[in-house]
Symmetry: C2
Subunit: 214 residues, 2 copies
DNA sequence: CTCTAGCTGTGATTTATTTCACTAATTTAT
DNA sequence: ATAAATTAGTGAAATAAATCACAGCTAGAG
């Protein structure tokens, strides 16, 4: 199998989500056109994306929802359950611990960490809480695969380094700073929610300017 | 000014964040090379990106942090304060209300909404809370520019439609479903946190497979 | 005052991605 | 059974974006 372009990988992840929803609504059959509409892209793109996973061989009449879901899920490893750790139990961290998207048959939050010992003792949570100094040992013992970073921005890079040392497979950083690792076998994604909003406002602003200048 | 490619716009938003941080640390002068390292890209790209904003005319010796920040901020409208509404005050919504990234001199959360009247009466929050049926009127009265959607996925599209009707400028949807508007003057970004993690796991999985096959 | 080192600005090139156009396969209706 | 309609698969073309290479500018050292 040739390597998958990143935009394609992103869309395949979205497709998987869409197929899961379709299945839930007992929508058994679909087509590239329908998927394109749901995914916000074109039918060409959907077909090309699916083609990168290898031939499925059902040219005449669309895709079977379940079969396509299995194909994508198997190709990208979505059926292996991943163990998640949340670092930082402020309001965002607490929300992540409870978030349905991280507690299902794909992901499981198995631990959370905070530097504030008091908080650990007083917070009620559905997952075990640990002080930050136990990060490495707990990551190893509980076999945590991925970390969700919800600490203040000035702590984010330090925690990242510690996580990488501990042998974690990947990190999603929600702090508004770009964290990196010198070890480029570790995948890191920086998700800055305020930046997302900033992008939106910038698009709007640029549009309004162009409108004036036209 | 020619229109700005979307990847460039994204990076300029990141750059603005980085420059803000540099300024805070009294780092007054910088270069495309330094910015590239902080931004996770190359110096070529940084220079090209800045060039899309029009000539700055400081060819010889790097960029003044403050001046570049002003240029980007002015070009993309970051110095006009935006008024934010949060819809859905579950754990994620509550976290967004308090999030420092949405409460600074760029953004201000001015209201939050929920369909559950009980929750509105019993929740303590730093912003006024409103029942969902007042959405349109409050968006108008409080001049809310942007909406952050943190409602359950099956409610997300309905709320989106209502927000668009109310004349909002843009929406960030955190529910794990793709919401759309037929009115394409409204900018919408779907931020699915679980999808971000799924992308990460997929990258890892594909990498491990390639490793086996090599 | 001149030379050097370091940096930006930008047209040209390369690479990546999307879009297109057409073929082949399958189903449905008659 | 055949025609018509629908849909996937895919090499080719077009578009978009990233990268490069180098000319030109600036500041500071000698």
């Amino acid at each position: 199998m040739k390597s998958i372009p990143f935009p394609t990988l992103q869309r395949l992840c979205t497709l998987f989500q869409i197929l899961t929803d379709l299945k839930k609504n007992t929508h058994l059959q679909t087509s590239s056109l329908e998927l394109a509409a749901l995914c916000g892209t074109t039918a060409f793109t959907i077909r090309k994306d699916i083609a990168t996973l290898g031939v499925t061989g059902n040219s005449g009449q669309g895709y079977a929802v379940e079969k396509l879901m299995q194909l994508i899920g198997n190709s990208l490893g979505f059926f292996e359950k991943k163990r998640i750790g949340v670092i930082g139990i402020g309001s965002l961290g607490s929300a992540l611990i409870k978030h349905s998207g991280f507690n299902n048959n794909e992901f499981e939050v198995v631990a959370a960490f905070d530097s504030n010992i008091n908080k650990i003792e007083t917070t009620k949570a559905v997952v075990p809480l640990f002080p930050f100094y136990q990060l490495s040992s707990v990551v190893n013992r509980l076999k945590i695969d991925y970390g969700l970073l919800a600490v203040p921005p000035d702590a984010a890079q330090g925690v990242t380094d510690k996580l990488v040392e501990s042998g974690i497979k990947g990190i999603i950083n929600f702090a508004p700073i770009i964290v990196k690792s010198t070890d480029n076998t570790i995948f890191i994604r920086n998700v800055d929610m305020a930046a997302e909003l900033r992008i939106l406002t910038a698009q709007n602003y640029v549009k309004s300017i162009e409108h004036l200048h036209q």
